[in-house]
């Protein structure tokens, strides 16, 4: 076994495969250009422009594949050289202190050159742009139905369709939303009741004018309290009408009532994170990336749902649209953050703010929510990876 870790032969094999695929993609682009149908008129122009966009896309992709192949081939050669140098140093005599010093020096040089080669590889790989922005420029189908299996917003979108875990999370959120909103209304009603009681005491003291002012404020506080109690009853009634099994209620209970940190995290969210991470790992993602994506997405979704429900209950609106609005805010943020982490996982903070902006555009008045999502993602990231 070499003193310097790394599979130089495997890297060389992949480099050659990337080169072959790059050549194949370039050949496909040429073939596509050569078989462009020759006809006149609007239909011909539309076909040509669409096919040329595709061939440009293929050319760009061939360049990226070839670039990755070249970087990897160079790295494989450098790594092999460093490993050979380290092996040669390992065979040197070790009888005198000078021998040992010489051996250590050669080993350090070999390790240093392997490190430099790895840095160069990493820099070059990170420098390879992906096709996201280019693909986005390709117009969607002009005629006919959407192609099965294509992305959510047509062939040009980098977004993938929500998976089974996203949908389970959505259904679960819909089931637990009315209870959560009723809880939020109850909390606010309690605070409003305490405020009304202290104002009532004020109606019995002071001058006549002060008592009159206190009475007006007390009536307003009382109205607010009754409205919040009404909201609580309405949401509780909605929760009671939902055909949810009793075990789901237990799944949605907090991880631990005793610990303030986990009091607001339902068991269901942990299960969703676990299932989502497992499925992503099975689909070939690394464990840290899958965990980051699912923790960040779920945390951001919870923050968005909580923010939306606070705002909506505070605004005094009640009914099905409120439930759907809060759940939709949570789902959009959760799904968007998951997608962003998946595609731009190298820079989660930027990804979160990008999703925050997108959500801000979609849901009017949800700017605070988006900021909350960004903070939640950073928090989730730090809590998992320090």
């Amino acid at each position: 076994m070499s003193l310097i870790a790394g599979d130089a032969a495997g890297c060389a094999v992949l480099a050659r495969a990337l080169g072959r695929v790059a050549a194949g993609v370039a050949a496909q682009a040429r073939a596509l250009r050569s078989c462009l149908p020759i006809w006149n008129g609007a239909a011909g122009d539309a076909e040509r422009s669409s096919a040329l966009l595709l061939s440009d896309l293929l050319d760009a992709q061939a360049d990226r594949l070839a670039g990755a192949g070249r970087a990897l081939a160079e790295f494989a050669a450098d790594l092999e050289g460093a490993q050979r140098q380290a092996s040669a140093a390992d065979c040197l005599p070790r009888q005198t202190p000078d021998d040992l010093a010489e051996r250590a020096r050669i080993l350090a040089v070999a390790r240093r050159s392997a490190d430099l080669a790895q840095d160069r590889l990493l820099t070059r790989l990170r420098g390879l742009d992906t096709l996201g922005p280019v693909v986005t420029g390709v117009p969607g189908p002009v005629m006919g139905p959407a192609v099965p299996g294509t992305t959510a917003q047509g062939p040009g979108s980098p977004l993938s369709l929500p998976g089974p875990v996203d949908l389970i999370d959505l259904v679960n959120s819909l089931v637990m939303a009315p209870s959560a909103l009723a809880g939020e209304a109850a909390k606010r009603a309690l605070a409003a009741g305490l405020a009304a009681r202290s104002l009532k005491d004020a109606t019995r003291t002071g001058s006549a004018a002060e008592r009159a002012l206190a009475r007006a404020e007390w009536r307003e506080a009382l109205r607010n309290y009754r409205h919040l109690r009404g909201s609580e009853r309405a949401f509780a009634a909605t929760a009671g009408r939902l055909p949810a099994p009793s075990w789901l209620t237990r799944v949605n209970s907090p991880l631990s009532e005793a610990l303030p940190v986990v009091r607001s995290i339902p068991v269901a969210s942990v299960l969703v994170v676990g299932a989502g991470t497992g499925l992503d790992v099975l689909a070939g993602k690394s464990v840290p990336m899958a965990l980051t994506k699912n923790v960040a997405a779920t945390a951001a979704g919870m923050a968005a749902f909580s923010g939306a429900s606070t705002v909506l209950v505070g605004a005094g609106v009640v009914g099905g649209p409120v439930v759907l609005g809060a759940v939709a805010a949570g789902f959009i943020v959760s799904y968007g953050v998951g997608q962003a982490v998946e595609h731009w996982g190298d820079d989660v903070a930027d990804a979160a703010s990008a999703v925050g902006d997108a959500v801000g555009d979609v849901a009017s008045g949800a700017k605070d929510l988006a900021g909350g999502a960004g903070k939640a993602v950073s928090g989730a990231w730090n809590s998992v990876f320090g």
Binding site: A51, V135, V142, P288
Partner: protein, 92 residues
Amino acid sequence: MRQIDVEPSELVTAGGCVDLVAHALLVMRSQLLAVGSPDPGRADTRSGLAVTMERLLRDLALSGQVAVGHADDLRAAASAYRAVEARAVRTR
């Protein structure tokens, strides 16, 4: 009457060509997947290589999907033109 300046069979042929492109892209993607990502040695490089490979594979799949969509467009256009032609014949 509006002049139809394309042969539906031409569209179908073009659709077939683009379909071949899509098929070739997806075959190349599966070839790359079969090679897999070797271990370059250090955790950050491993991660960098895995992310790059994932993106390259995704790009191949995306352009394959774009090609499939384009081929479907061409076939749909061929059907539409055939329908227009048939209606024109009936009108005459």
